[in-house]
């Protein structure tokens, strides 16, 4: 590092013919450069890259003619407006990638629909047919499961693909200058297109299952909008992390699988919460606040009648009905109507009585269905703002090395 600057001194051969101001500026700068040894290795962000303190004659010349450091991170405002100008690029890039992804396959674009179907089929085979235990307390298990799988895979695929977006697009990054956030956002748009196709499949499936069409279906739209905002946030987080730490991509599949099992994709979180809330209240609250679980539940409540009516808090609180539904042993003090509730559940098994199907509606744990929209909006805004800020901080460094 030391003594590396001396080379620039005295090697300007043709300065005699230059404008005198520039000439003296250059000579002074060379002299300064030779004396001014770089003191310490800049660790993360050298002062020059952040604008720093322009000093010396060359810097003065730059200021005089309005030149700006080329590797300077733009302010958030400028960055956002540049990004907005690239909206067509983001969408065009997403569409082109989507098309290119399946060009080698014989079935081509059909895979966009087939992939989520097969995915749901595998989970149904294992958790709906082979291991029947998880479908306990869930009416309409197939629709329940497929909704969960589709919504979760939107987040999962976004996370995994954006963690590689910078490495994938190195040639583009090194060739053209544009706000890099366009790249993770484009990948989110790719996954959104995939999600919309999955939704179409889902609508058909739900209709086949004789689910009634209601106005509640429209709530899918705001739910997906919030989920997309959330995914854009974590996508930008993953893009920076994946670009800076190569090990992240190795770790991610395991993280995602853990998240999958924690988010109630293949089992009912409601059942789980009631079973364990007496002893692990904080853990069951965390489980419900978990963003993936929030968005999955929002979409399920919008689409599936059974889910909406059995959601926590859908009916006024009734301890007897709630406990009887959850199969809790006789609580003390005994709530009003306990023996009636128990006899109803016991006499009408398996699962054809309203109480055994929708009893969870009488339970009111920490998080009930009316909280879900607030939680969903909160997660979306927080993730988007933090993710964007986190990504923008290292804008200049993407594609380095």
């Amino acid at each position: 590092m030391k003594s590396t600057r001396s080379g620039s001194r005295g090697q300007v051969l043709d300065s005699a013919a230059e404008p005198s101001a520039a000439k003296s500026a250059r000579q002074r700068a060379d002299g300064r450069a030779a004396e001014d040894q770089p003191g310490q290795a800049a660790d993360d962000e050298p002062a020059a890259a952040t604008g720093g303190q322009p000093d010396g004659a060359l810097a003065a010349l730059a200021v005089q003619y309005g030149l700006r450091p080329s590797a300077q991170r733009p302010t958030i405002g400028i960055y956002l407006s540049e990004l907005a100008r690239r909206w067509n690029f983001i969408m065009g890039f997403a569409t082109a990638r989507n098309v290119a992804m399946y060009t080698e396959a014989k079935l081509g674009q059909l895979w966009q629909v087939l992939a989520p179907l097969l995915n749901a089929g595998v989970y149904f085979l294992i958790f709906g047919v082979i291991i029947k235990g998880v479908s306990r307390g869930v009416p309409d298990f197939l629709a329940f499961l497929v909704t969960g799988v589709f919504v979760f895979s939107f987040t999962q695929r976004t996370f995994i693909s954006t963690s590689k977006v910078i490495t994938d697009s190195l040639p583009l990054i090194r060739a053209l200058k544009f706000p890099r956030a366009a790249l993770p956002l484009a990948y989110v748009m790719i996954e959104l297109q995939q999600m919309l196709l999955s939704l179409a499949v889902l609508f058909v499936l739900v209709l086949v299952e004789r689910e009634p069409i209601t106005w509640h279906w429209l709530l899918v739209v705001p739910a997906i909008v919030l989920l997309t905002m959330f995914n854009a946030g974590i996508g930008m987080f993953a893009a920076r992390t994946g670009a800076r730490v190569n090990d992240f991509a190795q770790l991610l599949p395991f993280l995602m699988r853990t998240w999958l099992y924690l988010s109630g994709v293949i089992y009912s979180i409601q059942q789980f919460v009631v079973d364990h809330s007496q002893h692990y209240g904080w853990a069951t609250t965390l489980l419900q606040v978990n963003p993936a679980a929030v968005y999955i539940t929002l979409v399920r409540n919008a689409l599936l009648n059974t889910q909406r009516e059995s959601a926590f808090g859908a009916k006024p609180y009734d301890q007897a009905n709630c406990y009887a539904w959850a199969g809790v042993n006789r609580p003390t003090p005994v709530p009003k109507g306990w023996s009636h509730a128990v006899s109803q559940v016991k006499n009408h098994l398996p699962a054809d009585h309203p109480l055994s199907q929708y009893g969870s509606a009488y339970c009111h744990p920490t998080v009930v269905s009316s909280h879900l929209w607030l939680l969903g909006a909160g997660w979306a805004v927080v993730a988007l703002l933090l993710g964007f800020w986190f990504f923008w901080r290292k804008e200049v460094f993407y594609g380095r090395g």
Binding site: A33, A71, N88, R174
Partner: protein
């Protein structure tokens, strides 16, 4: 700048003394690449474990000091050739000017965003040429209407003709770089950085691209040209910077003199010049 010089540079417009407007100022620039993985550490599980246990921070990072202190000023209307051996920092310098590589120390000041044309700058290999044209233009910030008007011109200029509907990975390297040049040159720049982009083209394309570079320069731009083909530098540039191991060895407006000294120093084949015009009499094959 206004020095009456001989040879190629005499035909180029030089800004009048005193009014020269700087477009690029490189001020004490240092660029360091960090290479992960290779070197020292053999990358086995055991060494990684010991490293983590010993709390040593990533010894596998090797630093490559690609540019070791450079300062110069480029002016409006300049065409600057950058010469030097492989690995002397030519391409790195261009990337730093384009703002694609952050400096370790020092600063590069530019009048506006620069555009870099390079052979390695493949855009999206698995997409068709057509999509590459559209996406490249969009990424440069052009509107859809602008692209519509420029599209035919770009395809025409690149000369890839009916191959435009095939994925770019099926292109020959010459076709690929022609299309990339055509895309990047579709916009008028104040600052154009060309990294060997012209080397792969055929004779006809070279003529076209030279014309385009001249046109860009006449629109009050500044052009940087990295080339191993020294004759190209002589023909196109009014200034030349000779780099070696990340430092400036020599820079000057007497392009031919600098190039001759460079050829001497690097042990290349001597060029025989006409004593009056200083044009090459028998040009050696470009390396």
């Amino acid at each position: 700048m206004a020095k009456p010089s001989t040879g190629a540079s005499a035909t180029l417009p030089a800004p009048a003394a005193g009014t020269a407007e700087p477009t690029v100022i490189v001020d004490g620039l240092h660029v360091v690449y960090r290479v992960y993985g290779k070197g020292g550490d053999r990358g086995t599980a055991a060494t990684a474990l010991f490293r983590i246990l010993g709390r040593r921070t990533r010894p596998t990072i090797r630093e490559v000091h690609a540019i070791r202190g450079m300062s110069f000023v480029a002016y409006r209307g300049d065409a600057i050739g950058i010469i030097g051996r492989n690995g002397s920092g030519k391409s790195t310098l261009l990337r730093a000017i384009a703002g694609l590589l952050p400096p370790e120390h020092g600063t590069v000041y530019t009048i506006c965003d620069a555009s870099l044309l390079g052979v390695n700058a493949a855009l999206m290999d698995d997409l068709t040429g057509e999509r590459n044209v559209v996406l490249g233009c969009l990424a440069m910030g052009m509107t859809k209407a602008e692209i519509k008007t420029k599209y035919a011109e770009i395809v025409d200029f690149s000369g890839v003709a009916e191959f435009i509907n095939l994925p770019m990975k099926t292109y020959s390297s010459g076709m690929g770089s022609r299309l990339r040049f055509a895309i990047a040159a579709a916009k008028d720049y104040e600052l154009l950085l060309i990294d060997e982009a012209l080397a792969t083209g055929d004779a006809e394309f070279r003529v076209k691209s030279h014309a385009r570079i001249d046109e860009l320069r006449n629109k009050a731009g500044t052009v940087f040209l990295v080339a191993h083909d020294l004759e190209e530098v002589e023909d196109t540039c009014n200034r030349v910077i000779w780099l070696d191991r990340g430092k400036i060895v020599e820079q000057g407006e007497d392009v031919i003199a600098v190039i001759d000294r460079y050829i001497d120093a690097s042990g290349g084949e001597k060029v025989t010049r006409d004593p009056v015009t200083r044009k090459r009499i028998s040009a050696p094959e470009p390396d």
